[in-house]
Subunit: 549 residues, 2 copies
């Protein structure tokens, strides 16, 4: 079982050093500390275990070290920054694991960009040695890239020429869409196993600058000094730093073979039927309403804790429960409490901690959108799909709401549905839902009252509203039908239907790039007995079927 | 060998009937007239042969019948409109063929939308019976969809529930992005094998309207009368119809085992080295400069003929020469003649025939962008990469231009590079190239003189400029290197690097949707011995590996 929780005192591969407004995040991968057996993590290559630590470090920077303005990403190994994802790990992994591994590493890099974009923290890749493959992809997720000019160190994307696969952790997309490298140069660079060194790499826009070994540290220090002296972005101000960050404690849960119970989130697996119930319990009624009190409560504050637990549940389901194809999203609690919480969050979004809490909720909801499982929201008496929790229903592939006039079954919107939780495509979930009738977004948001089942159906917020007599059968049948379908066809279908409307760099990475990479990860030319990935590092050579497809 | 040329007198599966401003395009697939053996085209299901005729018909409407304002797409079979791509054909095809088949059918549907968008022809799907799978995808490529209400006929996308694959001919994307069907309803519809009938299909936005059998023809006729009575779009006016359309004659060519020579296009295959030279000869000096004279010349006019030949060559390479991985694009002729031609085209773009000629060039260039082969442009003395032919270089993955001050080696831009040939992403190729420095687009267009090699390199228009001494070795090495790489990795890489910048419905179809479909087409759950596609129509049932990926 893969565990996504960690903390700096447990890190094996990264050192996180905080010095006032500067964090140094240094990669120093321990060869033998692999997630599973069968490979060695040489040359700062990584497996999922290494990336779980990176993801944790970035998350902690946001909550525990809000005073940090610049993050230097570098390596403690001489002459090597990072060699990318470990090839032998990839070569021995199942297809499903490879795909999930890449998705998580992509989410981690997007989280770095989310931090930079929304919280104004500047990520500086200080390449003290060669950055190849995933190593360069990690660098290109940073805001700035500096490469040592030691006559040897290069940046490279050798996946196509050496391995017959893509640089699939956003590399190709960021090359042309983020750094806007000219397409013909991107083509040359991506087919050049040895990559490019200092001057040419700079001329082509692959790095920001290059400095000789003797001046490298000095130049990085100078750039950091510059960054931390710049006035903070208005939206990213770290205000009210009474106690400088809050601690993210481990998420406790109790588990049995088919349940996992956190404080606010419960997971119940129905393995033989290939679905799970994922229940989020809403907030209590006595939550704090001022930033100071929220900060005092820290990671016990519902909005942070419940969504951290939800995040951990989603990762657990993805990686440890591959045969669960459908997740029924449920909520329990009081709608008024959720709406009160949302009101507090909306009123205090300019406070650093509230901002981070809301941004984290947005990231978790995007993780849900990107999870390759079907989601049905099930709305019954006692549920609290309102405001921030209504997003769970809006993220779902379908929404079932019981229609029984004798019971209170209600949903509601809040101010937070109006823009606090953008999807990867930049739209809110309401905008995405009402692409055909954009005026409905405002209508639904303007409706300040709750929606009962009929009103919700009329407003277009739910898919089906079976009555009491049909409810159980209909839900049971819907679950049976869904879980009987081809899991691959569902993954491709959901990835297509969930992201109507505009595309962004993020959706290009999770859509176009990832889908092509997954295709290649299935092709004999990569993973067959004669494939390039299979034969990497062996005396045998790859033999391709040269038919172009 | 698959031949993409046909004409209405040779059609086996479609009837094209022109009646003044109305065309009726009726599907009547002949079961036994299949492209290859091994399946029967029952229930108006189609194979590539059927779609080649459809593509031809749409192309002819634009050139031969410019007076047509409304195109009714319907079926001559009772109670069935179209059952989509033939499953047995898909089940027995190679992966590469399936992928190329889907790409061509996608291009044909995009060509219908291109006609509607740019030439104002209204496509009306008159569903006189059930439209399932690719049948509904054909309908959704039309502007309006009307379904007979006979108690039986439905629209459906049964691919996911019945076959374990996607509706991959744009269906999922057009559902949520063109018709903007709500995502949860799209989810239900795409998993419902039997689809939806009249009223609900209309309520959900899947069709525009539904009429009982007795009133169906009358309603369609009324709608046609309405469409043809509307004033024509200003940009789509069919003016100057002196001789009402021009004839598209068959493209003659001579071929040997490794050459194919059309009038203006020559293809030379180097099969053992897995690359081809594709040479376009530029226009003569004495081309007509008025619309009347161009119309007189008809399909012999260079801009039409050369690009039709180029189109045919690309399709031939895709389907009949799968092992050719790289195409070296070359031109021969006089730059001034190309510039003179572009001037004529630019000056007369409001004439219907010139408009159609330019739109056709744009479509052919998009076909090139979407071809899963590498393209290198090779610029040598005697070449004429100017204006419309410069687009060949701008479409290429790399551009090599000989640097020899003793010879005339030149390229040039024309007004047509400024917007006449949009890529699928909506940008011009110059905009796509200079995403990092958008001001360069105007600079390059403002440069009225030719560019010699040094100026071209300085302007960022070429990739490499080897001198005389290195030229041959460098080109030979570049070819050898390129053709040694994994063809699958190259396909995924090129699909990622060619389309920087915004995404459109078209790029979503060719990127996200197609890549997922290709992935699924490789998965054992679809094509393995227990897969759904393999077992369709057999007494055996599909058995899935339910791991979600």
């Amino acid at each position: 079982m893969i565990n996504f929780q960690t903390s700096p005192d447990q890190y094996k591969h990264w050192k996180l050093k905080i010095d006032g407004p500067v964090a140094q995040l240094s990669m120093d991968v321990q060869e033998d500390a692999t997630l599973v057996e069968g490979y060695k993590l040489k040359l700062n290559s990584y497996d999922l275990g290494v990336d779980i630590e990176l993801s944790d470090a970035i998350q902690r920077l946001r909550f525990e070290h809000p005073e940090v303005r610049a993050v230097v990403v570098t390596s403690l190994k001489p002459r090597i920054f990072c060699a990318g994802a470990n090839i032998y790990m990839l070569g021995t992994s199942s297809h499903a694991f490879k795909v999930n591994f890449c998705k998580f590493t992509n989410e981690t890099r997007c989280a770095m960009e989310d931090d930079s974009h929304h919280s104004g923290r500047r990520y500086i890749a200080a390449l003290n040695g060669t950055a190849s493959g995933g190593g360069y992809e990690l660098a290109i997720a940073c805001d700035e890239i500096y490469l040592v000019d030691d006559g040897n160190s290069a940046v490279s994307l050798p996946e196509v020429p050496l391995l017959g696969v893509l640089p699939g952790t956003g590399g190709l997309t960021r090359l042309v869409d983020k750094r806007k490298v000219r397409r013909d140069r991107a083509d040359v660079f991506s087919t050049l196993a040895e990559g490019l060194k200092g001057k040419r790499a700079k001329d082509w826009g692959l790095i920001n600058d290059t400095f000789p070994t003797s001046k490298f540290q000095e130049a990085i220090d100078a750039r950091i000094a510059q960054v931390v002296s710049l006035p903070a972005d208005e939206n990213a101000k770290v205000n009210n730093l009474g106690h400088m960050g809050i601690k993210l404690n481990p998420l406790a849960f109790e588990s049995t073979d088919d349940t996992r119970d956190y404080k606010y989130v419960s997971l119940k697996l129905h393995r033989e039927k290939r679905y799970a119930d994922l229940t989020v319990r809403g907030p209590e009624s006595d939550l704090p309403t001022t930033p100071d009190d929220i900060q005092e409560l820290g990671d016990n504050y519902w909005a942070l804790r419940a969504f951290r637990e939800l995040d951990d549940s989603l990762l657990h389901l993805r990686v440890n429960e591959p045969e669960i194809g459908l997740v029924c999203l449920r909520t329990e609690g009081d709608i008024d409490n959720v709406l009160a919480l949302d009101k507090t969050l909306a009123a205090n979004r300019d406070h650093w901690l509230v901002r981070e809490i809301v941004l984290n909720m947005a990231r978790v909801l995007r993780r849900l959108d990107l999870t390759a499982k079907s989601f049905f929201a099930i709305i019954e008496p006692g549920s609290c799909f309102a405001g921030s929790l209504l997003e769970l229903a809006l993220s779902s592939d379908r929404v079932y709401m019981l229609n029984n006039p004798d019971q209170r079954i209600e949903i509601a919107t809040s101010e937070l549905n109006a823009g606090a939780f953008p999807m990867s495509n930049g739209l809110t979930r309401l905008q995405s839902r009402f692409l055909a009738e954009p005026e409905k977004v405002d209508e639904v948001l303007a409706h300040k009252d709750i929606f009962d089942t009929e009103a919700a159906e009329e407003a277009g917020l739910i898919t089906f509203a079976p009555d009491d007599l049909d409810w159980e059968d209909e839900i049971r049948l819907a679950i049976e039908e869904r879980t009987s379908l081809s899991p691959d066809a569902l993954t491709g279908m959901e990835a297509s239907l969930r992201f109507a409307g505009p595309e962004t760099m993020d959706t290009k990475i999770y859509g176009r790039l990832t889908a092509w990479q997954n295709w290649i990860f299935q092709r004999p030319n990569a993973v067959g007995p004669q494939g390039a990935l299979t034969n990497y590092g062996k005396p045998t050579q790859a033999q391709f079927d040269y038919k172009r497809t």
